[in-house]
Amino acid sequence: MHDMSAQPAVHHHSPPQGFIKKYVFSLDHKVIGLQYYGLALAAVFIGMVLSWLMRLHLGWASLSIPGLQLFSPNGAPGGVITPEYYLSLMTMHGTIMVFFVLTNAPFAGFGNYFLPIQVGAEDMAFPRFNMMSFWTTFVAFLVLIAAFFVHDGPPIAGWTAYATLSSVGGISGPGEAMGQNLWAVSIALFCIGQLLGSLNFIATTLDLRTKGMTLARMPLSTWAWFITACIGLLAFADLLPACILLILDRTAGTSFFNPAGMVVSDTLLPHSGGSPLLWQHLFWFFGHPEVYIAIVPGFGIISHILPAFTRKPLLGGMRVMIGCMIAIGFLSYMVWGHHMFVSGMNPFSAILFSVPTLIITIPATVATLMWLGSIYGANLRFTSASLFCLGFISVFISGGISGFFLAQPAIDTYLHATYFVVAHFHFVMAVAAIFGIFAGTYFWMPKMIGRMMNETLGKLHFWLTFIGVYCIFMPMHYLGLAGNVRRYASFTDDYLVPLIPVHKFITIAALLTGAAQLIFLYNLIHTRWWGPLAPDNPWEATSLEWSTTSPPPFDNFGGRHLVVHQPPYEYSVEGAPADHIMQTDPGPVAAH
């Protein structure tokens, strides 16, 4: 491939002085990457506590949770969660997790930190955009969290905010006044932040590669962030105007999503001409690609890390995995209607959306087989990072296979909006992506903070989490098959009451698995200040981030302009003097 970057990147700014410029309003992509990671870390623990509260309520609806009434006197009088507060917790859990964790950590967090380093650049193409991107996202997070503290509490319309529940204002339910406004403003801001970030990722990948870093020599993680940025640029450019239309419907009396003739609380609403399905189309045209924004970086991270611990390149090399990721990114824009099989849209379109949905399983299956095939004949090294990679493969298989059911409209008419769907998307999108984040954390944290994480605690964290997620999410498939509807605050229907013991089991599993995450938090905090210092290349890996110090200096390579001579995964090359060849190694290019 043509080398477009004969001139090494010129640094746009000098090292900052003072705490504020260095650590707060920093232009350094590494600090911004850590800021995104830190924001995601705060968000994931908030989201997890919300899920604990939800799970407790689902198992024991009348349980009084001590102290909760102090946090929300209306939502939890006497510490007992009301049905509407359950919906608030659910909405906030979904929104926080999807946007501020699954988008922030694997894409914006690791991507910001490592994309410039992996291509040999000194920073992102637009450092000021980068800083704006983080701080816009940060404000978006504060605006969302503010919904907990407004009079009628957070919105209750779910992370999908379906109109008309979300679009007619406070008349539709508690949390639908100021709470839903804050939600829409927060997500609109989030979109702006992501658009700035995506532009930056794309420009940096295309323009700032160092000498010899051809596209074909970019690590798969960089490829994944690049493809994700392309997906994100389209997806968030769709959600942003959708949120603006929602805000207008709610505050300016427009009727984009509100049809004529709606009667709420015996009051005829003055809207006319809108369609609730328009929101669903706009939302899912973003929402389905968003699933891949969460998981494609995971593909890249796993494909990048696995070779270091199998000591061999990925089966199929770079091309197959890049092809899979591009195919998934492309197809992700053709399948949004599979969320809407029962929505009332034209039933012919269900078949049109079903076929590409099933086709998308082909690149996903190929990618999985490439990972599996890479373990064959490997010298496996078990570390916390490699365990989470192997765990990723397992949970991705488990989550992917249930997609076969939901992709078929005829079966979806039974399973739609049941816990089967909850199980599916948690396994394939949430748990798999989180496993990718954990693998990335254990792998890269030595580079990011210059200290080695504790491997014993890391492995304990893995075993408890791996068993835990299966205990939480596998039984949800059974609930879904029994017709257990999701988004119910409690189960009072005759046919749902016998399923409550299963919910109790899931709740206990969720509490224990959540508690296991405290081991991770302790490990991370302990490592930051007291962990043993990390060498430059602790995993004997080959890409450019391992050719600099841990942590890297301000300009990433200490004034050196690296020249790349090798593909990114030269492990166990026949006839090579060492078991791995660094990308900067000027030796003869390997034969394969």
């Binding site: 003739g261 009332g344 082909i362 299956t365 078929q408 008419t413 017709g483």
Partner: protein
């Protein structure tokens, strides 16, 4: 550590499939004409997916077992990646083709095929957080819906105008859906406020009810009995409690019931 991981993975896989194989928690028996086709489709998908799930988890476990402690020369997958990619495309491709063809047929019979012209029409109105059902009455004609007349306070859930609309005068409005067995039913679904859903697991039917759109839905119940109709689309604070009953009666019982309602 590799052997421990492999054994754990196999145990997890076996425990995961056990409740599926034994139908420990499963779909309730289907009571609609198209239900067995949906079940058949789901069963076939379950067998194919189950084999894929168990095989791939076992292969993963097997590789982790075999190469967890392997210190010899690195081996590459015999034959390279091309046969693997071809295998995946053919295997998954065939699965997709068969599922799409058969599945689309089932879907078409439910949603694309025209309802039986002799179907019994019932109008459904959904609102926060209840369902109401309307029968045309002796004249066989539904009165028009006037949103400005909708008033829960005086029980006018459909917004009927019996003073000016003759057809509306004999309309029967009730809180549960009573239908005759083995008779094609055509529902027209309306919502007056939020998106709701008409879900009867036993009928294998789930359909959103969207304000501003009148959505037709047809089915034939094949067993008499009483089942729950539940809302599956988040519609507000009382969403979890929104339900009604479906009563499927024999034709004679249904006729008696209808007569009783008209008499009131």
């Amino acid at each position: 550590m590799g052997k421990f991981f492999a054994v754990l993975l196999i145990i997890i896989t076996l425990i995961s499939v056990y409740p599926i194989v034994t139908h420990m928690w499963w779909m309730p028996a289907a009571v609609s004409a198209h239900g067995p086709e949906v079940d058949h489709q789901l069963d076939e998908t379950m067998v194919a997916s189950g084999i894929l799930f168990v095989t791939s988890q076992f292969v993963l476990a097997g590789f982790i077992w075999a190469f967890g402690n392997y210190k010899g020369k690195i081996k590459h997958w015999p034959g390279g990646h091309k046969p693997v990619v071809a295998f995946a495309i053919i295997l998954v491709g065939l699965e997709i083709l068969s599922l799409s063809f058969v599945g689309s047929k089932v879907w078409a019979s439910m949603y694309i095929a025209k309802p039986d012209p002799r179907a019994l029409h019932v109008d459904v109105q959904a609102e926060q957080f209840a369902f109401f059902f309307r029968y045309a009455g002796p004249d066989g004609v539904f009165g028009g819906i006037h949103p400005d007349k909708i008033n829960d306070g005086n029980g006018n859930y459909f917004g009927l105008d019996p003073e000016n609309d003759v057809a509306a005068r004999d309309d029967i409005v009730v809180g549960s859906l009573t239908i005759p067995v083995d008779t094609p039913i055509l529902l027209t679904l309306h919502s007056k406020d939020m998106i709701h859903n008409f879900y009867v697991p036993e009928l294998r039917i789930q359909q959103d009810i969207v304000p501003g759109i009148d959505i037709p839905l047809h089915f034939t119940a094949t067993k008499t009995g009483r089942w729950e109709i539940v809302c599956t689309q988040l519609c507000g604070l009382g969403h979890y409690s929104m339900k009604a009953y479906l009563e499927v009666k024999s034709q004679s019982e249904y006729d008696d019931w209808l007569k009783q309602q008209s008499g009131d």
